[in-house]
Symmetry: C2
DNA sequence: TAGATTGTTAATCGATTAACAATC
DNA sequence: TAGATTGTTAATCGATTAACAATC
């Protein structure tokens, strides 16, 4: 059923949005929808939607549109939400804490299994059902549990050391909230960056632009 | 000195990174640097760096390189970090709380002036030197203080109503942590989206890809 | 001056959009 | 069948990269 083995990253980055949209449509009882309809509702071109969905083809019917539920399932399958990747969180500051408490990792194809921090005030306390471990236990834990991904919420200056240790331990994926350029320094890894400061500066810039 | 009035968004999105990098170089006492050197350190092509910096030209010298400090100042000026935009935060849940506590708005060209929430348990409590106000006071506050930007950390279902009220009150910029598509529903506004769930799903996908 | 490096134009690459034949 | 809508190819657009003349 899958047509292209390599789907381009811009397409992949749109999939979570399609996924959410299709779920909403299902809940409204919509069973099928045309690319034209979807384009109006999502603010994309119908052409782009057809191109995107065609990457893993077979869900549209000429003259009729796309079957909502099969399409939803297929996107979930492509994103791999049912196969869960174990992830650990390093740095339980304000942001790390918020992420650990609020995100529904299970629904997103991940499972949060451990929290680490250096602060004696935090170590041993519970957050979202997990006990914060001392960062010194990173090696022991990873050697035993072999997590493949880490969520990095430490201060920028701590990042290079932590990433080095984690890559040695076999961690290949990072959800990176620091400004340390993981992908550049560790070519074998996969890093998704969340640069909150950069994003806010861009908003600041765009607001100050005379005409948009 | 400014050469292009319209700098493309991809270039703008790279500016915060240049800005940080140049600050680091200054702190190391580096006074000038060539695009080739910078390209090695930042993992961009020298060509792209020259194209980018040339949008607001005049900081390079042939045979010599770029003056670090003037370039740093100019990027700060373009991003408008010294002119501060007033911003209010709606929704002091885990993420909103973390943002309010941790981000240094001042350094990023913004000033956080008020927090709003619906929860009686939160209203009246202090976060980062600000008292959480009831969301019902949004209109009164905005009519008086006329903030131009809002940081949206409410649940998705609350977003359409809040955004509608805020745009009526003259708020034109949103730092959007919800999945509500503000730019699509309110064409006049500027929205920077932080879609944490989407980002995590993309990481999950990339980790599960056979070869990268 | 010679060497280095920019500023800028041209070439390439990739993603988006348009068009339309295929087909439900 | 006629109408609608996809799948897919071709055209367009924009961003990145390469090349090199200008010049410090």
């Amino acid at each position: 059923m899958v047509k292209k083995t390599d789907i381009s990253l811009p397409v992949i980055r749109r999939l979570p949005r399609y996924y959410r949209f299709l779920r909403d449509l299902m809940q409204e009882g919509v069973t099928h929808i045309s690319s034209a309809d979807l384009s109006r509702q999502m603010g994309l071109t119908a052409s782009q939607i057809r191109q995107d969905l065609n990457c893993f083809g077979g869900f549209g019917q000429q003259g009729y549109g796309y079957q909502v539920e099969p399409l939803y399932r297929e996107i979930g399958r492509i994103l791999g939400v049912q196969r869960r990747t174990e992830v650990i969180l390093i740095g339980v500051g304000h942001v790390g804490h918020a992420i650990a408490r609020q995100m529904d990792f299970t629904r997103l194809g991940m499972r949060l299994t451990a929290l680490f921090d250096v602060s004696p005030a935090l170590i041993g306390t519970q957050v979202g059902g997990l006990t914060i471990r001392p960062e010194t236990e990173l090696e022991a834990f990873c050697l035993e549990k072999k997590p493949k991904a880490a969520l990095l919420c430490v201060p920028d200056r701590a990042a290079p050391d932590i990433v080095e240790r984690l890559t040695v331990l076999g961690v290949t994926g990072f959800w990176n909230f620091t400004h340390y350029d993981i992908a550049h320094h560790h070519p074998g890894t996969v890093a998704e960056n969340v640069h909150l400061e950069d994003s806010l500066m861009v908003l600041s810039y765009r607001l100050k632009q005379p005409r948009r």
